[in-house]
């Protein structure tokens, strides 16, 4: 049992917690840089971020094995891409619409996913990718592979029909899937009180799956819930719905000042900032060093991206169809120490 920095956990080593902190800092740093590049007009279109929600995508993805699939990180989930090992320069190239390996400029925002790392990029239509994750999990199960699919979505997305079809389907077939509901209390300007009468976590049992709510600003809690869900999924126990409770700290997008969220509410949650909470367990100079390292990495990535040309317009109509052998989902980084020494781990709580 490891104690000390970070919340106590049977499962996370000091190295893990350092990695989690770094991934969260990286996510925040990349998004802050993205926002300023957007304001400078270097990023076209619109810009969305997950400020204050870093613990969710980072914590959940940290629990995945290399062969698991993320389908998909949404607009608040940059951390999932980063944990899987997505190239930072390519992220900025993609943001800026430069030529890049993730989307060749055909997509924007975080509408990408590096298939080589087992990540499927999102579509905008919420929450369509949950259904796709269900299909991936079905394939894993049909081939008796020890893999699971992880899917993210917001409180607002739970109102759409596809959410229901995915939940029912996954529960019915006891598929190896973990669904992460990011309840950040708003869908654009719409509070959850105008989205549903009861918290959707209550629906889990009615479909025949487990449902668990965690503090979405506690990266350890998110990690542990996801790890338990994954273990259960791999053991044939079917899917889990995890609700991570948090608040969206920025506007819906860069254009939105979120004046409909009260200052008190924001202040309440600012005091629960997931990065500060974990960082407070580390020595100040260690945190400073990490932040400097992260900043340097971002600087390099931005520089590389700015040096990359825009895509060649001649390619605008290429690749609508696949003409060769389809590439399959590859393996992503699986940094959690527990994968290295599974026997050393105690059973999940």
């Amino acid at each position: 049992m490891t104690k000390g920095n970070g919340r106590e956990s049977d499962l996370l080593t000091l190295e893990d917690r350092r990695g989690l902190l770094r991934a969260m800092c990286l996510m925040r740093g990349v998004e802050e840089r993205g926002l300023s590049l957007y304001k400078q007009g270097k990023i076209p279109g619109s810009f969305y971020d997950g400020h204050g929600m870093e613990a969710i995508s980072v914590g959940a993805t940290w629990a995945l094995g290399a062969g698991d699939a993320v389908c998909s990180p949404l607009i608040r989930d940059l951390g999932a891409h980063l944990v899987r090992g997505t190239d930072l320069t390519d992220v900025f190239r993609h943001y800026m619409g430069r030529e890049n390996a993730l989307s060749h400029g055909r997509e924007g925002n975080v509408h990408f996913g590096d298939r080589r790392l087992g990540v499927v990029g999102m579509v905008s239509m919420l929450p369509d990718m949950m259904v796709v994750a269900t299909g991936i999990a079905m394939a894993f199960k049909m081939r008796s592979e020890e893999r699971c699919a992880l899917s993210f979505f917001g409180d607002g997305a739970t109102s759409r029909g596809d959410w229901h079809e995915a939940m029912n389907w996954a529960a019915l077939y006891r598929l190896p899937a973990v669904f992460v509901l990011e309840n950040n209390q708003f869908a654009y300007s719409t509070p959850t009180s105008k989205q549903f009468a009861e918290d959707p976590i209550k629906r889990a049992a009615a479909y025949g799956m487990e449902g668990v709510s965690v503090d979405g600003n506690d990266v350890t809690a998110v990690f542990e819930a996801t790890r338990a869900g994954r273990e259960k999924a791999l053991a044939g126990g079917g899917p889990t719905l995890i609700e991570a409770r948090t608040l969206r700290m920025h506007g819906h997008g860069a254009h939105d000042d979120a004046s409909y969220i009260s200052a008190e509410m924001l202040e309440h949650w600012r005091r629960r900032d997931p990065i500060e909470r974990l960082a407070s367990r580390f020595a100040d100079d260690e945190v400073a060093a990490l932040e400097a390292e992260v900043k340097a990495a971002i600087d390099r990535a931005v520089e590389g991206a700015l040096a990359t040309p825009m895509p060649d317009p001649a390619g605008a109509t290429a690749s609508v169809y696949c003409s060769g052998v389809p590439e399959v989902l590859g393996e992503g980084a699986a940094p959690w120490s527990g994968f290295a020494t599974p026997d050393a781990l105690p059973a999940a709580a």
Binding site: G45, R106, G108, L126, G161, A187, S189, P313
Partner: protein
Amino acid sequence: MAVRTYLQAITDGLHEAMLEDERVFVMGEDVGAFGGAFKVTAGLQEEFGPERVRDTPIAEAGIIGAAVGAAIAGLRPVCEMQFSDFVACGFDQLVNVAGKMHYRLGLAVPMVLRLPSGGGFAGGPFHSQNPEAWFMHAPGLKVLAPSTPEDAKGLLAAAIADPNPVVFMEHKHLYRRIKGEVPDGSYETPFTARVARPGTDLTVIAYGAMVHAATAAADEVEGASIEVLDLRSLAPLDEEAILVSVGKTSKVLVVDEANRTCAAGAEVASLIADRGFELLDGPVRRLATPDVPIPFSPPLEEAVIPTSSRIAEACRELLDY
């Protein structure tokens, strides 16, 4: 008369319809307190209250289907899809429930579905689509696509007054970019085409944002008199106005911002090739976005959506035919 943007004209149209007819109400995602993603419904909830300007859950089938129900029950719902792209999520309710109800059962469905559509601002594959042809191919729906503030307001009023389900294509890229004189008070614009720019040598047929690109192209082409026909209504399609214009010019270019195959322009071109064959002095040319998702990166997007210079080029080529 006052100068209004295309967007303001739509807001005005909603406002007047709500003042005049208490059956009219508005619903959609974030249309209430926030005034809509594009602020088209800004101020309406303050004036008319949360019952008549309703923020809904994220449920496109819910919005469209509930509108059908409310319309059947005697109200006049005007719904917004946050982006036209999301109408795919409520597609079935629109084409199978709303569109077929009157023919099957004699039950009218007076509703308007507002679809902020179109590209041109790096919206990417899911925030730039022009889905109107799907609805032209769905019996029982009417489909409108104004290009000017005046028509936007007048067609919206006519759509709300119409006893049928009307798909109202409002082009996002015109919202704040296009201004014009708009008559005060309420008026209805007929579901017919309009000569946006008269000419005698060649007709460019377009609608929505492409009307402006076509007009700019017509201005650009020297030594020829080019007519621009603004369809305004895609279903019903003003076949006579199309044939009259082709009869006058004998040459025609049909422009679509939508993906080429089976687009509105395909129908228009096929109409001319059939009923207007004897009027023609050259091939019926089409210019459209090729069959690709709309890419995000500006040079790629600019390469696929028809521009005024590509329209002008196609005009010149056809004039030389």
